[in-house]
Symmetry: C2
Subunit: 163 residues, 2 copies
């Protein structure tokens, strides 16, 4: 199963933390890549790369100029997460499109499915997390990790793995 | 069931959107209140109030100075969401504590449970959404709403409710 995420309309000044959260959620729930449109942001890209270097896996981020071409050229299903969509889930490989506050209206027609995680305003970060949790679940193993958490009742424990 | 959320260490300049997302996620998944510590932020509070006025329900946000007293004085269970915690869920009424990047270490000892939504770095917004989705689910009815979404396959439809 290959899941990719497309984050629309990134603005570094306003969205850096939100887009970083989206990328880390995508990675933690097993997506292999986050594409993002809007303004290219090397600070954001580096912060995700640092996480991947330490915590493992092969998750990537890549800036895309023509996001419409990306959606249209995508071989599998495409899904737009929106509070205006239907409350359903699509299983298997897919491109998941998430917007910010202003989403171009043609997105609703370019994708195969418009899907809501509830029909109330909340957060594209939480919508992505809940949707991915339903579709693919939390990813358990990350290849080539340098560190991992050992879950504890109290406090923090991070263990070093092989060099 | 009464669920409340405590967001630690809000900084308006850096966290406005993240804390707003946390509040809206709390509301959408049925929490009744978000407390927040750190710097009091009337812009954040007003933005949540606008959502409640339009979309209904009785969700509140309130700034708290002494968050340790709030946790210790809480009558029911308290849960801290952290990537270092155990992968379990607590059902029923509870106070859910979420931090930012730097969480004071005594939090781990003040709460009843430290709970992870996966043990990888991702997002307190997504962690809160996934956890609440497991514990209480998406809230379906909001009293006194002025508007609501009618879910569509394509496009957006918002319907006006009674004045």
């Amino acid at each position: 199963m290959a899941i990719e995420v497309l984050r629309l309309g990134h603005r570094p000044a306003r969205d850096k933390r939100i887009t970083t959260h989206c990328a880390l959620v995508a990675r933690a729930f097993g997506a292999r890549k986050l594409w993002y449109s809007g303004i290219k942001d090397s600070v954001f890209e580096a912060s995700v790369k640092r996480v991947v270097d330490q915590w493992g896996g092969s998750f990537e981020v890549e800036h895309v100029h023509s996001w419409r071409t990306l959606i249209q050229g995508h071989a599998g299903k495409s899904v737009h997460l929106t509070m205006y969509g239907e409350n359903k889930r699509i299983k298997g490989s897919q491109l998941i499109v998430i917007g910010g506050e202003k989403v171009p209206s043609d997105v609703y027609h370019l994708v195969d499915h418009n899907i809501a995680v509830g029909n109330q305003p909340h957060s594209e970060v939480a919508a992505l997390g809940v949707y991915l949790n339903d579709v693919s679940g939390i990813k358990k193993k990350f290849s080539d990790a340098k560190i991992k958490v050992e879950p504890l009742k109290r406090g923090k424990k991070v263990v070093q793995l092989q060099a």
